[in-house]
């Protein structure tokens, strides 16, 4: 299992489009992937409604927990996605 913190860097935060991108990416991995937000709610990153309920604004630090055979790749790719600001014009 890998645990790490990731920061929401894009201005609009994790709204619908980024949520869809997270879910799409997470679904490519066999590992169980969870995100914990400010509200201490742990959600499954493969569920769009879950990710949307994170309501993570810019600057929010999310706790990422991944466990499974492809956990390293999953953590790398997800961190990359967050760091890119979901392709938003920064």
């Amino acid at each position: 299992m890998i645990e790490t913190d990731i920061t929401v860097v894009n201005r609009a935060g994790v709204h619908t489009r980024p949520a869809a991108m997270i879910v799409k990416l997470a679904a490519q991995f066999k590992s169980d992937i969870y995100l914990t937000g400010d509200n201490q709610l742990r959600i499954n990153a493969k569920s769009i409604i879950g990710v949307m309920t994170l309501a993570a604004a810019q600057g929010t630090i999310l706790h990422l927990t991944v466990s499974g055979e492809d956990e390293t790749a999953a953590v790398d790719k997800l961190s990359e996605l967050f760091a890119s600001g979901f392709g938003e014009h920064l």
Binding site: T16, N44, G50, M52, T53
Partner: protein, 588 residues
């Protein structure tokens, strides 16, 4: 055009339906539509109609639900593909709906309820409402809007469970009036040549509105009781610019709108096609193309010309129009209207750029107003006015598409004091319980040689730069731009001006902030290659210049432009620069 008299076929009505009436709503998608009204009534089916289901029927009930989910997902997929062809990226909204309907957490919860004896409809309603409530009470305005998404998917599912569909074929050439409209319907409406739509629920950031705007389908939303006050099959007009719905229009009203519609149509059809293309050079450098706009009408024109945002709103034009300072409420309304019309694109409000050359209360006459109390100097002298304006702009920023731009920065103190006021305004709004964008970007105009020379330091303090080429040229070359005697000296192609711009762009790039050009130079046909060459990533020009400017960008190569620029800054004079640029253009 004849005026319709019988609105209800074969029925008598005591309501005087012939009276023209205007309903006010929110302008959600620009355009004029005139057509027959199709009224879709809301679903008020109460959950009480359903009783618990018996043990032996539960398995088939789960299957009925799962079939509905599959059907819904297929429908969404199909409309997604349809939409993708037409509007590209924006279609992703529909994909999100597909994810929601397929979401395994909500699916599990619903199936569990059905296994406990709830009919599929109740299970769907309960679980979706639970999720919806979560969003409805979110602190963030944009998140609250997501409650609509959940509601939309729920309604779609319930419709499928009921085997109910809006008959899109009868909707041809009509205007749909409905309590709410889901994105999927917007796509299908467009396919079946619906002319526009009116809804009762509001929310300009809703996905249906975003789709309508990208499809050019006029829409007015947030019209209270729209479905009860409009009469099916009667003629209605919707004005998506002003957010007005007119029922039973008088012949003269009808004529007026037909004229307005024709005017707008002629302008926009061709432009809209071109507007779809991004401003990308041959070798892949993307330039964000914005427009300068001072009124809501300008915004509409800008968007039809393919603007990706509003790079400059000269807010002082509002003072000119009123002949006095607008109060906070007036300003807020104006800024909000502009930001709603521009959404989801960004709108940049430049704080009042006024000085003693434009008769302002409390300012003595100055001998040399261009070098006197203007722009931020005036604002810091009248902090009451400045603070009021900042508060009004902040209040209009709830949808996170608003930027504040400070004019005439000449030294760092002016930035520090301005940022201090922004902080104070935010504190005041927080204390009074107002919603606003806490991270609203604040940028500065680079229009004095001192700010350009210090750009590498100033870039650390602000979120973006906007180069005002007219003033930067005037101050660098010490040539009054309004004085004809020195008009040959006033020339933005002067290598000294180009060097200052380049220094500004490099400072911005190094600090990873955006840098825009909003002066006349930005739209000049000979300047495009120089601008790309110096590394500008954003331009803001008069809307009418956008299509040509975009074409020039699409023809250019960033690599080549960079070489042209390197040569240009080595020139001795503006004339030499111009010759070089035009020689290059001829060679092509």
């Amino acid at each position: 055009m004849s005026h319709p008299i019988n609105h209800r076929f074969g029925t008598y009505t005591i309501v005087c339906v012939d009276e023209e009436s205007r309903l006010k709503g929110i302008p959600a998608s620009p355009g004029i539509a005139i057509g027959r009204c199709v009224v879709i009534q809301g679903d008020n089916q109460s959950l009480l109609h359903y009783s618990m289901i018996s043990d032996d029927k539960r398995v088939s009930e789960v299957e009925r639900y799962q079939n509905a989910v599959r059907l819904c997902a297929i429908e969404l997929q199909q409309t997604f593909q349809l939409a993708e062809k037409e509007i590209g990226n924006v279609a992703a909204i529909l994909e999100t709906y597909e994810f929601i309907v397929n979401d395994f957490t909500i699916n599990e919860a619903i199936i569990k309820r059905i296994r406990d004896g709830f009919p599929a409809e109740s299970a769907v309603s309960i679980e979706y409402d639970l999720q919806k409530n979560f969003f409805q009470y979110a602190k963030d305005a944009i998140l609250r809007e997501r409650a609509h998404d959940i509601e939309n998917v729920k309604e779609r599912l319930l419709h499928v469970l009921h085997n109910k569909h809006i008959s899109h074929s009868i909707a041809r050439n009509s205007i749909i009036v409905s309590p709410s409209i889901i994105p999927q319907d917007v796509i299908l409406f467009n396919e079946s040549e619906v002319l526009g739509f009116v809804t009762e629920v509001g929310g300009i950031t809703s996905h249906s509105c975003i789709l309508a705007r990208s499809l050019g389908l006029p829409a007015v939303i947030g019209v209270p009781n729209a479905t009860t006050v409009t009469v099916a099959n009667s003629v209605i007009i919707i004005d998506g610019y002003a957010g007005v719905v007119i029922t039973n229009p008088k012949p003269e009203t009808l004529e007026k709108y037909i004229r307005k519609q024709e005017q707008k149509k002629a302008q926009s059809k061709k432009l809209q096609r071109q507007a779809q293309f991004p401003a990308v050079t041959q070798d892949g450098t993307r330039i964000q193309l914005n427009a300068n706009a001072d009124t809501t009408d300008d915004v509409d024109v800008a968007l039809t010309h393919g603007a990706e945002g509003i790079g400059l709103v000269r807010t002082e034009m509002f003072i000119v129009k009123l002949q006095r300072f607008p109060d906070e409420a007036e300003q807020e309304e104006y800024y909000r209207d502009m930001s709603l019309r521009t959404y989801p694109n960004v709108v940049t409000f430049r704080a009042f750029d006024i000085g003693s050359d434009k008769h302002v209360e409390g300012l003595p006459h100055e001998k040399n107003p261009a070098l006197g109390m203007r722009g931020v100097r005036f604002l810091l002298h009248r902090k009451d006015i400045y603070l009021t304006q900042i508060r009004a702009i902040l209040k209009a920023s709830v949808n996170k598409n608003v930027r504040l731009l400070i004019p005439m920065i000449a030294n760092v103190q002016e930035i520090e004091e301005s940022l201090e006021l922004v902080k104070r305004a935010k504190k005041q709004l927080t204390d009074s319980g107002h919603d606003f964008d806490h991270a609203m970007p604040v940028g500065i105009m680079i229009e004095t040689p001192s700010s350009a020379l210090m750009a590498h330091k100033l870039a650390e303090l602000v979120n973006f730069f906007s180069i005002g080429t007219n003033d930067l040229t005037q101050y660098t070359l010490a040539a009054d731009r309004t004085n004809e005697m020195v008009s040959t000296i006033f020339d933005a192609f002067n290598p000294a001006v180009l060097r200052l711009m380049k220094h500004t762009v490099d400072a911005a790039t190094k600090n990873n902030i955006s840098v825009s050009v909003c002066g006349d130079f930005g739209g000049h046909s000979a300047a495009t290659e120089l601008l790309i060459g110096m590394g500008i990533n954003e331009l803001s020009v008069t809307p009418s210049l956008l299509p040509e400017l975009k074409q020039r960008i699409r023809k250019a190569s960033a690599k080549h432009a960079s070489k042209v620029f390197m040569d240009a800054v080595e020139c001795l004079s503006a004339k030499e620069v111009r010759n070089k640029v035009s020689a290059v253009r001829k060679k092509k």
